[in-house]
């Protein structure tokens, strides 16, 4: 029996439900960990509803703990807390709404952005502090401190444990989507160290699926899931046999995951039918075009980037649009756009400029731009790719 996969699957949902029952995230985590420790001893075969078993056990352990440790006065408070009339039957196990509440609490705008991702991975993903620290290549103490501080602020400042109302959703949903997107990206194109830290991307996809399941009527949630799936689908083709980066045009399309692509395309179609476009839906649509048929329909990609620039007028979006512009209107048109952009420290700006210069036969300038890009690249794989490109410059 594989308890660790049960732990991964059930941890977040159980903590979410226990947080509602006990009114405190720290107590909820403790109780759930206690329950898993009991499970480790007692389970010989998997019970029919492992999540329900964990929630019931965690709750009983928490009550025992209160009885043992509480003063007389506190005991009355806890007794009230644990027997509220709105309690659902314990057999139900983790409650879906609880998970949604916890997602919004973890991404609350009153928490720092770095704490939001760490807290989401810890509480909802069930990742341990050392795993998160390894994934982000920061010391364990840093992650641990972020999580402790965030939990303290949730408690001290009374950050509520609830799903925001319809009116607040436009402000409160984007930070949730950002957290999932950043977790995915960190795993997909690790900013430092080896490329493809697949655990994080897989976790982001899992959480995005859960969110899409909980909020099926929010097109941006579906858009985010579609974007992650369509990106994830190309993972196997993105890196070659010796660990080198392979560009989209050169990827072996037979390595793409057809199931994920089909699922992503279906989600994009659902979004189109709803006709409430947003930045994630547009990015998903761009990726749907890239993964549709034997070659990319660049004019359509460019049209989508025009839409995206209108929604999200950032220099990075403008840079990506320039790549499509080069395919449709040629490298000179794209270069004049790229030369006006300023994105300090972002290696893909000089990398794109280098590629456009090379296509225009301005080899010396291209070489200098590749050098600039390689110096800024955060991981070895990307640096090797850029230097490889630079070495091949004369061959064209």
């Amino acid at each position: 029996m594989d308890l660790s996969s049960v732990y991964r699957a059930e941890y977040g949902r159980c903590v979410a439900t226990l947080t509602r029952l006990l009114g405190d995230i720290g107590l909820a985590e403790e109780a759930v960990q206690d329950a898993f420790a009991v499970a480790l001893e007692k389970w010989e075969v998997l019970p029919p509803n492992p999540g329900g078993w964990i929630v019931t056990t965690a709750r009983n352990r928490a009550v025992d703990r209160f009885r043992r440790e509480a003063t007389r006065e506190e005991r009355h408070v806890h007794a009230l807390l644990l027997h509220q009339p709105d309690d659902r039957p314990e057999e139900v196990g983790p409650v879906r709404d609880d998970q949604l509440r916890l997602i919004f609490t973890c991404s609350h705008p009153a928490l720092s952005p770095s704490a939001r991702t760490a807290l989401t991975l810890r509480l909802l993903g069930g990742l341990e502090v050392p795993e998160i620290a390894r994934a982000y290549l920061v010391p364990e103490a840093t992650i641990s401190q972020r999580i402790v501080r965030a939990k303290k602020k949730i408690r001290d400042a009374a950050i509520p444990y609830r799903v925001p109302g319809e009116a607040e959703l436009p402000d409160r949903l984007p930070p949730v989507l950002t957290v999932l997107y950043l977790i995915f990206n960190e795993g997909y194109a690790a900013s430092t160290g080896p490329l493809l830290r697949t655990d994080l991307s897989g976790e982001a996809v899992r959480l995005a699926r859960a969110l899409a399941d909980l909020m099926p009527d929010e097109p941006e949630v579906l858009g985010l899931l579609a974007l992650l799936l369509l990106t994830e689908a190309r993972r196997a083709a993105r890196v070659g046999p010796s660990g080198e980066l392979v560009t989209l045009a050169e990827q072996d399309r037979t390595l793409w995951n057809g199931e994920l692509i089909a699922e992503g395309h279906e989600l994009v179609r659902r979004c189109l039918r709803r006709d409430r476009p947003g930045p994630y839906q547009i990015q998903a649509a761009i990726n749907a075009v890239h993964t549709d048929g034997p070659a990319t329909d660049w004019p359509q990609v460019l049209a989508l980037y025009d839409q995206l620039v209108a929604h999200t007028p950032t220099p990075i979006v403008a840079l990506n649009r320039a790549v499509a512009l080069a395919e449709v209107h040629g490298p000179a048109a794209a270069l004049s756009v790229v030369e006006d952009l300023d994105i300090p420290g972002y290696h893909l700006l000089p990398a794109t400029r280098a590629d456009l210069l090379a296509r225009l036969g301005r080899t010396d300038e291209a070489r200098a731009a590749y050098d600039e890009a390689a110096a800024l690249a955060g991981n070895h794989t990307e640096r090797a790719f850029l230097l490889g490109r630079r070495a091949r410059l004369g061959e064209r």
């Binding site: 609350h108 400042a157 009374a158 509520p160 609830r162």
Partner: protein, 117 residues
């Protein structure tokens, strides 16, 4: 939960005068009325500029007083509200109204609940 919402004034910028000042006071008045109507208003008020402040220290039984604010920073406490609401989300939505009314940032902090009456 009880929260303090502090108004942070940039004192390097001259305070509004005349009609601007009246308009600002009127906006704050509207927010105050709304808070009182909702029953969440505990206390609040604007402060004179920080050059009117005096800092009192007692050390080893000796009292010293210094003229001016405790911290010589550009942003100084310009006023505050104390409100009693359910949770941080509610406090933050009031803080948005206050920030709009005062044209400045508002710091929201929970009371520790240990020494309030």
């Amino acid at each position: 939960m009880r929260y303090m919402m502090s108004v942070l004034n940039d004192e390097s910028v001259p305070p509004p005068t005349g009609a601007d000042r009246d308009a600002s006071l009127a906006r704050v008045g509207v927010v105050n009325d709304e808070m009182q109507a909702k029953g969440i208003w505990v206390f609040g008020g604007g402060l004179r500029p920080s050059d009117s402040a005096t800092v009192v220290r007692v050390q080893d039984g000796a009292t010293t007083m210094t003229d001016g604010p405790f911290a010589e920073t550009k942003e100084q406490l310009g006023g505050f509200w104390v409100i009693e609401v359910a949770d941080l989300d509610e406090a933050l939505s009031w803080a948005q109204k206050c920030a709009e009314a005062c044209w400045g940032p508002i710091e929201v902090r929970p009371f520790d609940g240990l020494s309030q009456s």
